[in-house]
Symmetry: D2
Subunit: 313 residues, 4 copies
């Protein structure tokens, strides 16, 4: 019998895709699509699943739907891989509510970005982390996401937070590799602390020089590609890294850059998943699925890149 | 018998204080303090009451507590003045949930800032407004608050939004009076559209040149001061405006600038309310009440400024 | 004989237009246009002239041309009003070079925004001000312009700077009236310190409540309008203020909002000056004059607003 | 006889240190220090020298001193490696003036960041590049430096600029590796176009996956370290990369993070150069050399890291 996934690896390593949330309308899950999507991703050999993150449009969803999603995914995954649940919220109480829900449903960890309405100072942020992590029933990964929270975990704050009891790692989605490298340096004496990178385009180089893995959005579409790239990077097989990285960049430059707003990544990803028949491309406000013109552009790219639903990637 | 406050004036004019939310701990209302605070404010002759705004720490509160607050305040105010309820949320569905709650409790209007996690483009924002306002059971005031939402209602977006069925006005908290003046110009043909200003230090000049009033946070503490200043500005009594404005600036420079973070305004205001015995100064995370040293500074200011709980202002 | 303008009033009050720099090409002054423009402005009864500011495109001009401009304008003005010269530069030495040139040419004061390449901290900025002002041969007005310098003079920095020997006032172009009002409060004990406002749309309200005047860009085009508005505001004649303010807003909403970039103000102003035959609309890089389509829109507005070169405004 | 360095390699590859400008006071070069510094760097085997960049404090220097520096460095280097000269300026005319000076002194290329006062739109920026590059007598490297210019070369702008006649490459100092990777993808069909990275902490990973080299500030202090790291990365020798990268991170975490402002990097670097006796640590305003306390911290680090002037690194 293999390792019990209920015991979170320490440090957590590998590809942990941030699950897209399939929707039929703004408050209805695409249940069949969700099932297909989860199986599609797990078939790719990923090392975990992260639900209710930015890619999952969590802040745009009702709490009722978020609870429903947590239960469904945990039940379906059934401990095949660890499930991480986003609990980021402007309200401390709502964050702990979701965390308890996650624990009850059988998730293995939670993920927390800074509260994103009030502009807190770093000392206020650290005090918030002390109070909140003390109430959490599961290990917590901190989530650095300044483009959306407008509040960075400064290096000194992270250094202090890494010593808090439940803090197990960080997901850095800043895209700022200087920050990432300095963080590695500061936490060199915390070998169990997991340092994961957000942008999938940077996963390989993060891992090549000591990072533990990536929360790669494209792994919703092509899970095996990212797993293989991770493996190549961990094995320091540079020719293979370069070959696979080129495919990642093709996805990044084609699928994620249709449309004119910062929402292009999310819209493109959901649209492509719909093109290959995995799930609906409906998006929660303030976003909307691509209209016909952009849909056709994505469809062409999907064909050109040879993406198929069977996970044949 | 006076005018029925259930009919929202059009345009809404005057001082509509953004109610501080008195708390005993992070998920418990200070019920007695809340009652005292509401009566203290109404005794000042204000023209409305705005609950669950930024000053009310709404994004930091649990939904349960927000619902409780809506019910209590609407019941206590009992239509003496219009009650406006903040429904800003990153989730469309949760915004409409609070709006229905507000309608059921007897509130007269709702207030909506842009969703503040995903960075939407202006066309996405306008589409969001079209969809959301169509579902609202009450008139809605848009709330421009770029320092916290990081998303501005650009002038063209506001111009278009002003023609949507339920949109009754705007609260501009940008502090950017150039934006405010241009907005007045663009909406000159909408005489029923209410243009209110956020920062209390700018209320007088906003009203002197055609603005309709202010959502003045200091009116939690000194409601009559702001009402009198509004009246003087509306009457274009400049000597009186200058006399009262000096007091407003004294409050602003003393009470709101203790402490080192952007939270100084909120912490100072809640601390001062506690000093005069109106309500608790407990704050929801990510903030915390002033510690002893800052509390004593505020206490000295409160004495120096002669602020008393009896509303003797 | 009238007051000697070589003695700078203390505080400096009134309308001090920021002179547009008429150009024939990127390194050639439109000398005839410059002469017409200066006489047009002085005929409007302004209280000073500010050259080499943002409206004058100073950072885009060669030093040779800046020196030429300083000499020509000082000679032509011939002490009819005080001339203020912008010396803002990323290089301390170049700032003092221009200041000496200004002194030699007969200017009465200089104007200084923070150095705008390196992001200095406030203590670094204050030390810079101490060193630089000590070397200046003329009184200096500090210039708060965060949209372009990305560095604000924080209130505490201004408070300290106001006590430096040569510092005579501030021009606040932030558009943030909360900052402006707090500055007035902090400097209430400095009656000789001049507090001027940048955005012309806010000049009237600035003066109504104690500000000393404005650096109003529109006064290049309609100098008398701004002088009359200033006089009305100073006399607290509110009906007259409202009447004239409406014209200012018409200019602001029409002329300054053609085109899609932040350069719309400058392009519109220079284009309008060209439409009425005062000077060329050539702009220094990185900007370019409006093309035909926008030029025609501005031309229509100029006609509609009844702007004429004779200063008949 | 070796290759003639007057012919700029295409693409330019390797370590091109951004030269610190040694100063005795704000307008006086530390001539002896400059000579020592240049020889120290060249002894490390670098592939070029970049003068008058951000690390060289160019925007803070007088034009006279900049001209003096260009002449001295070009004369001393005497074509041993290519010299690149920063010509970034808010004034088009001054940029071309410096470029001509660079050409006359024997430099091989110039480096240009966007003009950094007026906030230009991307189309305005591209038009500026078209006009300016057409006037340049030397190949030009574009310099993406949003933290200081506040204006990014967006990907589409870079794609178009890469086809302009004199544009030979880009130095990306954004620290945003997602941008860097997408740029590589977009310019895959321009094999002669050099893509260099600014932050030295990211040089190795940039080169491992196809970047051409780095403008590494630390190479002022330890030129051989960066050259060896570049060579290891180019040879895809990962164990050696990891070993040397650890030293780079030690420098980054110790020397560059003393002091509280963004100026810590520059102050720390210049202070360390002074500790090992290479040149003076005087800095041009708005910065100032470290005071005694910080100097001692740097001195300890310099000893601990075993940095010696002999280039024994």
């Amino acid at each position: 019998m293999g390792p019990n996934s209920n015991e979170l690896p320490s440090p957590l390593r590998g590809i942990i895709p941030p699950l897209v949330t399939p929707l039929l309308d703004r408050d209805t899950l695409d249940e069949a699509g969700l099932e297909r999507l989860v199986e599609h991703i797990l078939a790719g050999g990923v090392h975990g699943l992260f639900i209710l993150g930015t890619t999952g449009e969590a802040p745009s969803l009702s709490y009722r739907l978020r609870h429903d999603l947590i239960e469904r995914v945990c039940r379906q995954v059934a401990a095949r891989v660890p499930v991480l649940v986003g609990i980021t919220d402007t309200s401390f109480v709502e964050s702990t509510n979701i965390a308890r829900k996650a624990k009850d449903a059988g998730a293995q960890a939670v993920v927390l970005a800074p509260p994103y309405y009030f502009p807190a100072g770093q000392l206020e942020l650290l005090e918030y982390l002390k109070h909140l992590t003390a109430e959490l029933p599961l290990p917590v990964f901190l989530y650095n996401m300044p483009s959306h929270t407008k509040l960075v975990f400064e290096l000194e704050t992270m250094r202090a937070a890494a010593d808090l009891p439940h803090v197990a790692g960080i997901k850095d989605s800043s895209g700022n590799m200087l920050y990432f490298r300095r963080l590695q340096g500061l936490l060199a004496d915390h070998p169990d602390f997991s340092i994961l990178v957000g942008p999938e385009e940077l996963m390989a180089e993060a891992v090549l020089l000591g990072g533990h893995g990536g929360i790669s959005g494209g792994a919703n579409l092509l899970p095996r590609l990212y797993v293989e790239l991770y493996n190549a990077a961990r094995a320091k097989d540079l020719p293979r890294v370069e070959e696979l990285q080129a495919k990642v960049m093709e996805l990044s430059t084609c699928i994620y850059r249709v449309g004119r707003y910062q929402s292009s990544f999310l819209k493109g990803l959901k649209c492509a998943l719909s093109c290959v028949g995995i799930c609906s491309d409906f998006m929660a406000e303030p976003f909307h699925r691509f209209r016909q013109a952009e849909h056709e552009v994505i469809e062409q790219y999907v064909k050109k890149l040879g993406i198929t639903p069977s996970g044949g990637n």
